[in-house]
């Protein structure tokens, strides 16, 4: 099999020559999935050179078609040979067949527009703000005071991060406090057991996810701004600080709450491996005992999976005396508190996308792989650096009452 690619405006024209059968189906699928991952969501297959199409080949086309559908793209097979056309009609996939190229497809190659898109900025409502609410302020390594545990329902309009447990009672929660984040009525949380499997809760009819929180930063309100970012010839991925800086520039440096979704270049973070509820008394936990309480990613992890990131950030000078955000060592003018959840990769639709719809897709898909508190590892020589994303989207708005963070 030989595959040739040509960019025609928003369309990727793919000339397939040879047999699309069991021997080539997996290779063909992987090739096309890679292009979908790179943002090519309008695919035209020129099948004039496709001499054979088996059931395995049809299955491969179907997988590509389904993947394209999830990102509201388009998929068309043109110039099919008689055999391919007859096979697709017989198997009831004639809807893929087209008599001619789409009218808006240029006649000649137009270069790789998708790969060079860089950062796009959209404004939903430039007056939108977020209101910080429902704080809980556990700090390492305080013994848990039950009176300070906040029981919180995470409705559709709340975004939050913190440390909590899904247990109903405080006694049950004692050994289950771990990092979590909540977006659009969904909560994903890390269980601090030895295996570290994350779990998640989804709003369903009358049910609203509820957590017992020892640490909580949450806000509600409207996301007024939306950024999309994709690699360019010069920028292969975006460190978190670069994304944060770009967002802060759009709101003139005001402290913001944000949500990001993006393909991971590498995440660096830490999560609880033992619940703080098990602390007998407040104490300073140092090395090596700290290793019994916290796990560290140890490498730039989860490359090419998808991250759902929730956080708060602002300029150091605008947030004096606050205790809930820490300075980013590689960008000391910023303070941030960021949690990230990792989901198996699913492509995101191009262009402007709605936060709730985009997030829901991940909670309705395969289960999450991890939740962690993201850190900026700027240790000399051995530091892993900061987390980075390859492509994705972010939604953000200024905080109306950032003083609550203090």
């Amino acid at each position: 099999m030989k595959i040739e690619y040509e960019q025609r405006g928003k369309y990727l024209l793919i000339r397939v020559m040879g047999r699309l059968d069991a021997a080539w189906a997996e290779y063909f699928t992987e090739e096309l999935f890679l292009h979908i991952r790179r943002g090519q969501h309008h695919i035209i297959i020129d099948a004039s050179g496709m001499v054979f199409l088996s059931s395995a080949g049809i299955r491969s086309l179907l997988r590509v078609f389904k993947e394209i559908n999830t990102v509201k793209g388009s998929f068309l097979i043109v110039n099919a040979t008689d055999f391919v056309e007859e096979t697709l009609i017989t198997t009831r996939f004639e809807m893929w067949l087209g008599d001619e190229f789409p009218a808006d497809m240029p006649a000649f190659s137009s270069g790789n527009e998708i790969e060079n898109s860089g950062i796009e900025h959209f404004i939903f409502n430039e007056n939108a703000t977020l209101i910080l609410n429902g704080q809980a302020g556990w700090q390492p390594w305080q013994a848990i005071d039950h009176s300070q545990v906040k029981r919180v329902d995470f409705s559709q309009d709340t975004v939050a991060l913190g440390i909590g447990s899904s247990a109903e009672t405080l006694n049950e929660a004692r050994d289950q406090y771990g990092e979590f984040l909540a977006v659009a009525g969904n909560v994903v949380y890390q269980l601090p057991d030895e295996q570290g499997h994350p779990d998640y809760l989804i709003t369903e009819k009358q049910y609203v996810p509820r957590m017992q929180c020892i640490q909580l930063l949450s806000y509600s309100g409207e996301m007024g701004y939306h950024n999309r970012f994709a690699p360019t010839d010069k920028t292969l991925f975006y460190p978190l600080s670069a994304i944060l800086k770009n967002m802060l520039d759009h709101v003139k440096g005001k402290a913001i709450g944000f949500v990001m979704l993006g393909e991971i270049e590498g995440l660096v973070g830490s999560f609880l491996s033992r619940s703080p509820g098990l602390l007998e008394e407040s104490q300073k936990i140092s090395f090596p005992e700290i290793r019994d309480w916290l796990s560290f990613s140890g490498e730039r992890s989860y490359r090419h999976q998808q991250a759902l990131i929730v956080g708060f950030t602002g300029n150091t000078e605008d947030l004096p005396g606050q205790k809930k955000l820490s300075v980013l060592p590689s960008c000391p003018e910023f303070l941030a508190h960021i949690h990230g959840a990792v989901f198996p990769y699913q492509p995101l639709q191009n262009g402007k996308i709605e936060l709730k719809t985009a997030v829901q897709k991940f909670f309705n898909g395969p289960p999450p792989l991890a939740v962690m508190h993201l850190v900026d590892d700027a240790r000399p020589v051995v530091g892993l650096g900061e987390s980075a994303l390859i492509r994705g989207a972010c939604w953000f708005s200024p905080l109306q009452n950032p003083e609550v963070l203090s």
Partner: protein
Amino acid sequence: MLKIESLSKTFHANTANEVRALQNVNLILENGSFTAIIGTNGSGKSTLLNAVAGTFEPDTGSIHLENHDITHWPEYKRASLIGRVFQNPFAGTVAEMTIMENIVIAMKRGQRRSLHIAVTKTFRGEVADRVRTLKMGLEDRLDNPIGTLSGGQRQALTLLMAAWTRPKILLLDEHTAALDPKSAAKVAELTKIIIEQEKLTALMVTHSMQQAVDLPDRIIMMHRGNIVEDYHHEQKQRVRVPDLMSTFDRVQKRELFDESVAGMLEEQYI
């Protein structure tokens, strides 16, 4: 029951090549339990097995098997209580001797031997019946030299011989690692059947996560001479290969968590 208490062994002590192979290991294996030991290279899993077998004497600690303190017993003396299957299918049998002769010798392991006819007609029938359970057609080849068998056939026979006298403990040292995948699967299946049928206590070293999940009823994970995980009872029932992989990952990441990481997290984990 096998009881290992505070067992430590350091090779090449006080030299640049010092290896602390076992560090204060404690382990109890109940009668009839089947335990797998997994771990990275150099984690101490084979050293632990060899300590039980008596290949060397530990620096400190004790090993009790049934009611015997075997800590200082030589290897040959332990042979009456212990059955072993090695990684090399050609170890543990004599290639030039027939299948029958190898089995006779295995049956006399750890016993006094005398001059009398070892292979009677009745005994031959018993052997054929047992070998038939392997479903390899070897019962018709009892007079063939064992060296003419394939690695998988030879390892299956070695397993059968090791279990024949119902040892107090059966030690399996990566006994499928040198076999082709099909033979390895067959020997693994036989291992489970024989141990269950004979109600043996068994300790198996393996690099195969899938085998560790499928065969035994307990998994212990070793790292740098320590037991770092013990999957037993309900925990063992729900453990899957990805869980073991993530535990390996976690154990190795813990090594990367040094004082500088702790300092960094003190600033940023708030």
